[in-house]
Amino acid sequence: MVAATATPEPSQTLAPAARTLWRLEGGVGTLVALVPAILVQVLAGGMWALLAWVALALFALFATVLVPEVRWRRWRWEVREHEIDLRHGTWEVIRTLVPMARVQHVTTRRDPFQQALDLATVVVHTAAGANEIPALTVAEAARVRDRIAELARTPDEL
């Protein structure tokens, strides 16, 4: 990020299988988008249908090829003694810093796709909401969760 911060950039990446996960989700999205495309083909046909199929093809390209790859390359996270540093995003890069003293609790979450790929999401809860580190391997997610839980064990902060 050009916004030059003296804070070191986070260095850890997500599991390589994250790309597969996002490709799978993109595939599902494409299947869902198939429905309106078919509708347009059946109802309108001709020029509109052609546009719809082209749009669908572009969507499929982005959702299953481009976005997963770029997103995986951009995702960075790091757990330090006093803070959690996250950085992600393609069009808009978002950098988030959560002080360890503000962490209320930390959990892991796995949806069906993640379970198939041996991945998990670490969710860090503060009073202001939740931040996630998506798609780590199950072992690493457990390790990160335990580390955060240990570091956040400070006296009653709000």
Binding site: A3, W91, E92, A127, A128, G129, L158
Partner: protein, 492 residues
């Protein structure tokens, strides 16, 4: 009511007036399903002269539900004070038991709503140090004698029941109340009003859908003037309702500060008291609404740990204040937050750079242009007039740019920005839940970035399009409350 050995309150149910209060509460919880059933049954069956009968039947049915629910809850709710603990038991199927040691009680607040006044009882809200759902007990109807006994018991055990003399107090005068109500501008009411229009039209025009449609179309405004007239009428109604609502909510507003707590009192029909431990205050917002800012008026809101789920009015610290008085107010009532130097309303904040103005103005202007063009084409007889909407959109964008500002100093961060109202968030850096930077690809090329911060559950600051190096500096500074303590980082 007092036993021989120590003050206590024997186990008892709520005052019978509680049946009414609990019944009404049950009705409110069932309001949405009842409304749906009501609307579909009354309007859907195509009955001729029957609607009046149906309305009465539903009214009676609703009242019956309220009474039955009230009685059931009343019979299954008991409370007692014994062994230095307040015990509260309720619930029909799943019993809920809450015990609060008297010594941990931090406040015994009373509520007199219209129902309580009718029967001469009080609603009682007991809060303990823990806070949250588990740390409080609400008794909707308690006889005044029992309230006194409860307070005596709490005091006897070292809890805090009565309000000590305040160190500072601010009250909302009658004139300011009216001003606050007039400038409140809460238009959220308009959405359910709009949703009711289709139902109303079907009711008015009878139950035959086709003729209703034809007649309904004649009512839809079809010239620009009628559209404007209809919109203005709708806004006027919504405004009047919001004025009435604001007056009812904020009449008699007063804030008092004693050593550890802020006590807020408000309300006309339903008198509410709220006690906020100062240690739980995380941030203050100065909200300058569109109608208020030209007159130099602000509303103050407070972010309190553990209270985020409550209605917006419950987080109001003071409904209306002159901007010039805001520093004095905070110095008197929240010196922990205000800090040593007056800097909330008085200091000038570091602004967004000049080159960011374009980015504030162009997106809303472009969106307005597109919408205006669509309207110009879609509404017959409108001509090119809808395109004029670009002007206010661009002006709003420019105003957002002017409102952007930040300041770091004295251990506190101030972020100012505009969505509709101009909002200034003031918080100790150590209380931030998280902070961050945002930068789109376009911003990166222009060396701009956004600064974000969150305090508590409901307070967010987002200043857009600051210089990227400056934003990076703010990001680094917010990691380190000590650094912000020692020097002023932002340009004054």
């Amino acid at each position: 009511m007092s036993s021989e050995a120590e003050p206590g309150v024997a186990p008892r149910r709520l005052h019978p007036a509680g049946i009414a209060v609990l019944g009404v509460a049950s009705l409110k919880e069932l309001a949405l399903p009842l409304m749906v059933a009501f609307v579909t049954a009354v309007l859907g069956a195509g009955g001729g002269g029957e609607p009046l009968f149906r309305v009465l039947a539903f009214g009676a049915f609703g009242a019956l539900i309220a009474v039955v629910a009230g009685v059931v809850r009343w019979m299954t709710t008991t409370w007692a004070v014994s062994d230095a603990v307040i015990r509260y038991r309720t619930g029909v199927v799943s019993r809920k038991e809450t015990d609060i040691p008297l010594s941990r009680v931090q406040a015994v607040d009373t509520v007199y709503g219209p129902l309580q006044r009718l029967f001469g009882v009080r609603g009682v809200h007991v809060q303990s140090a823990g806070g949250g759902r588990e740390g409080e007990i609400r008794l909707p109807a308690v006889a005044p004698g029992d309230v006194a006994a409860l307070r005596a018991a709490v005091d006897g055990r070292g809890g805090v029941a009565a309000a000590p003399a305040p160190l500072a107090e601010w009250r909302l005068g009658g004139r300011d109340l009216l001003l606050a109500a007039l400038t409140a501008g809460q238009l959220g009411f308009i959405v359910p009003l709009l949703a009711a229009v289709p139902q109303l039209s079907q009711e008015v025009f009878g139950n035959d859908i086709r003729t209703a449609g034809a007649e309904g179309l004649r009512l839809v405004p079809d010239t620009t003037l009628e559209w404007i007239g209809a919109a203005a009428a709708l806004l006027a109604v919504a405004w009047i309702v919001s004025i009435a609502g604001a007056v009812l909510t904020f009449a008699g507003f007063a804030v008092a500060r004693d050593e550890q707590r802020l006590r807020l009192r408000r309300g006309l029909f339903a008198r509410r008291e709220a006690t906020i431990p100062v240690a739980r205050v995380q941030a203050v917002q100065l909200v300058e609404g569109v109608l208020r800012q030209p007159f130099g008026l602000v509303a103050l809101r407070v972010e309190v740990a553990g209270y985020a789920a409550e209605h917006a009015a419950a987080r109001t610290l003071f409904p209306l204040l002159r901007r010039a008085d805001a520093d004095a107010f905070l110095a008197a009532l929240l010196p922990e937050l205000a800090g040593t130097a007056p800097h909330v309303a008085g200091a000038r904040l570091a602004p967004a750079p000049r080159r960011a103005l374009r980015r504030y103005v162009l997106p809303p202007a472009a969106a307005a242009l597109v919408l205006g063009a669509i309207a110009a084409v879609a509404i017959p007889g409108a001509g090119a007039w809808p395109l004029l909407v670009v002007v206010p959109a661009a002006a709003w964008g420019a105003e957002c740019w002017r409102a952007a500002g930040w300041r770091l100093g004295d251990g506190r961060v101030q972020l100012r920005f505009r969505r509709m109202a101009r909002i200034t968030v003031l918080a100790p850096v150590a209380r931030l839940q998280q902070h961050g930077l945002r930068q789109t690809v376009l911003q990166r090329r222009a060396r701009l970035a956004d600064v974000t911060a969150r305090v508590g559950a409901g307070t967010r600051g987002h200043v857009r399009h600051l210089d990227a190096a400056v934003a990076g500096g703010i990001f680094d500074a917010l990691r380190d409350p000590q650094a912000v303590e020692q020097r002023v980082v932002g340009a004054p």
